[in-house]
Amino acid sequence: MGLHFTNGYVRKKRLQIILLQMQHIIALTVLFHHSYQSKGEHLRMTNHSAPTLNELVSGVVDRLKSAGPLYYLLLLITLSLVIASAVIGLLAMFRGHEHYYNVTREIPWGILISTYVFFVVTSTGLCLVSSIGHVFGVQDFMPIAKRSVFLSIATILSGFFVIAFEIKIPWRMAIYNVISPNLTSNIWWMGTLYGVYLAFMFAEYLFLLMNKHNPAVICGFSGSVAGILAHSNLGAVFGLLMGRPYWQGPYMPIYFIASAMMTGCAVIIMFHILGYKINGEKMDGDMERALEVTTKVGIMLICVILFFTTWKLIAGAAGQPNGAYPVVMSEVAGHHAFSFWFWEILLGMVGPLVLFILSKGRNLKIMLIASISMIIGIFVMRFNLVYLGQSLPVYYDLGVNEFKEMLTYSPSIYEIIIAAGGFGMTAFFFLLGEKVFDGHKVEHH
């Protein structure tokens, strides 16, 4: 075996070589980046004067060194969350999920599914909203492109990370999704299309770093199409289940796309404001304008989702349709009312809507508060969506003693840690990305 070393000296030498190779890989990643900072001095690269590997690595190292202790503390906390959730996820995988998760036969999908949905919703939203600028050519949206595309990759990876521990035997998926595909399955389409989406987003980000506009646009467009198809298929995973009236219908795929864009706006606003805070820089006029228009789009999309939600409730209440009515009533005035009205409606939509309007898209503090509130609310919104659809037992209308009541589920501490690990991963990538890619600065042409 190649890793069988004969003595300490050889082992040390080989480790040095491996470390050097890793350093080169990092350097190659940032090689595509056009601008970098070195000890406070801005050096603008051009296509004609490519930096050496050492210059690139030292640029990254300098930026990382310049960060304060809070940055490193946050990096450590987020990384610890990822590691903790990975350890718990692996324990659950090998020792048996029933010891760690609170999901049941009747409610098989819990917070891990809703967290996955949240992350892929976010990723798709980041992709779609940012594509308005760099794919469809609306100049005002251009400055948010790089960070948004980077974050769309970070969030989809976080989603995959969480779902890997939710799916009981994920390695079989890698094999049988390829050799035994079921083309009638929305899960299959969603998984496959998200794989394609991720590849396009990676390629798009690399082309953006290389400042190669045309291939970036092609990849961005393809990524958006793959994202819409993948995400609407995720909606269809819920919407096409005939035995679950609360979810069933064409509403879900449509709602998922609109909801993704709403989430995208919130995440773009939050991460851009935080990114500038981390780098200790002031936004230029273009970036301020980009966030202003993103806020406006956000306002519009909150209204769209409020409109959708209103009609979903009315449709579930009018005529008291079997299967949907008890769920809608529990949402409006029953067991889930607080979760719905406070978290989903107030924190997720109405509160941010008011704050965004008050901010006029220019008051960054209010916008930051609004976007954080919105993200928290949307996370609960996804949880409610997944939970409520399962809360009515399939035999409820049969009137049997076992299933007379609505079903309840609350996540275990282990499920919460794994879900938090997803957030840790996004935060970790975000923090690292700010320094490695130097605040995702966009070239001016």
Binding site: G96, H97, E98, T104, R105, E106, P108, W109, I167, K168, I169, P170, R172, M173, Y176, N177, S180, P181, N182, T184, S185, N186, I187, W188, G191, V237, L240, L241, M242, G243, R244, N322, Q390, P393, V394, Y395, D397, L398, G399, V400, N401, E402, F403
Partner: protein, 249 residues
């Protein structure tokens, strides 16, 4: 007494009819009404009778087309079916793990018996949701028998099939590392030459009638294709065309 004499009899009124006779008469009326109402509202029989002749091949595309009829009112909840299933199919002894169970229904305002037992299991649907949603074809309709099968090596444990099933017929088996479900004992009994499932075999009250719906001389066919007694399926609105039927009497 001939008809003319009958007409000459004086009406005695109802004052002298004992209370028990009145109740029996009312019960009979309610039972008849109930059967008609039940037949109209719940029964799949009317649909079957309309369609059976022309659509036979389309309706029962498998040979043998395995099916089960539950004579629901015979069930006394002794749970021998459940025990036999666990023993035959190695169902783990953990909460929520079962291939078949018996549901209990109390109708407190009913006249006479107020308790019903409803045995449930996989309905081996003709249009199963579970097989449609499975991303890897780990669950599929057996081409010969129509039984909904599991290929456990392909199951990724996404549990979408559990979500899709309108009958709560599936659970995740941690020992097998795959979703598990009733397969009419195809591997544990039918493949060994037995003619019925473990649950049907163990039932002392003859609740579960197992058979081949594609054979007109089978008991399941005769029960499903008659109009005297109501025959229904659970959750017909889910549109999965189940192969487990329910009847009384």
């Amino acid at each position: 007494m001939n008809k003319m004499d009958f007409n000459k009899l004086q009406n005695e009124g109802v004052e002298n009819v004992p209370m028990q006779q009145r109740r029996d008469f009312l019960k009979m009326g309610l039972a008849i009404t109930g059967i008609f109402a039940g037949g109209t509202l719940l029964s799949a029989a009317s649909t079957f009778n309309k369609a059976q002749a022309a659509d036979f091949a389309k309706k029962y595309p498998y040979s043998p087309h395995y099916s089960m009829v539950m004579r629901q009112d015979r069930c006394i909840d002794c749970e021998r079916c459940m025990e036999a299933c666990v023993a035959t199919n190695h169902v783990p002894n953990v909460h929520g793990a079962y291939r078949t169970t018996i549901l209990e229904k109390d109708t407190s305002d009913a006249i006479g018996s107020t308790k019903e037992f409803i045995p449930v299991l996989c309905n081996q649907c003709n249009l199963p949701q579970c097989t449609r949603v499975c991303p890897t074809k780990a669950t599929y309709k057996d081409k010969t028998t129509g039984i909904v099968m599991m290929d456990i090596k392909k199951c990724i444990g996404c549990l979408t099939c559990q979500e899709g099933c309108p009958y709560n017929a599936r659970y995740f088996n941690e020992e097998k590392k795959a979703v598990d479900k009733c397969n009419f004992c195809i591997d544990t009994r039918l493949a060994r030459g037995e003619k019925d499932t473990a649950c049907a075999h163990a039932c002392p009250a003859g609740v579960r009638v197992f058979g081949d719906l594609s054979r007109q001389d089978s008991e399941v066919f005769k029960t499903v294709h008659q109009i005297e007694k109501a025959v229904w399926v659970l959750r017909p609105e889910a549109g999965t065309r189940p192969n487990v039927f329910y009847t009384k009497g």
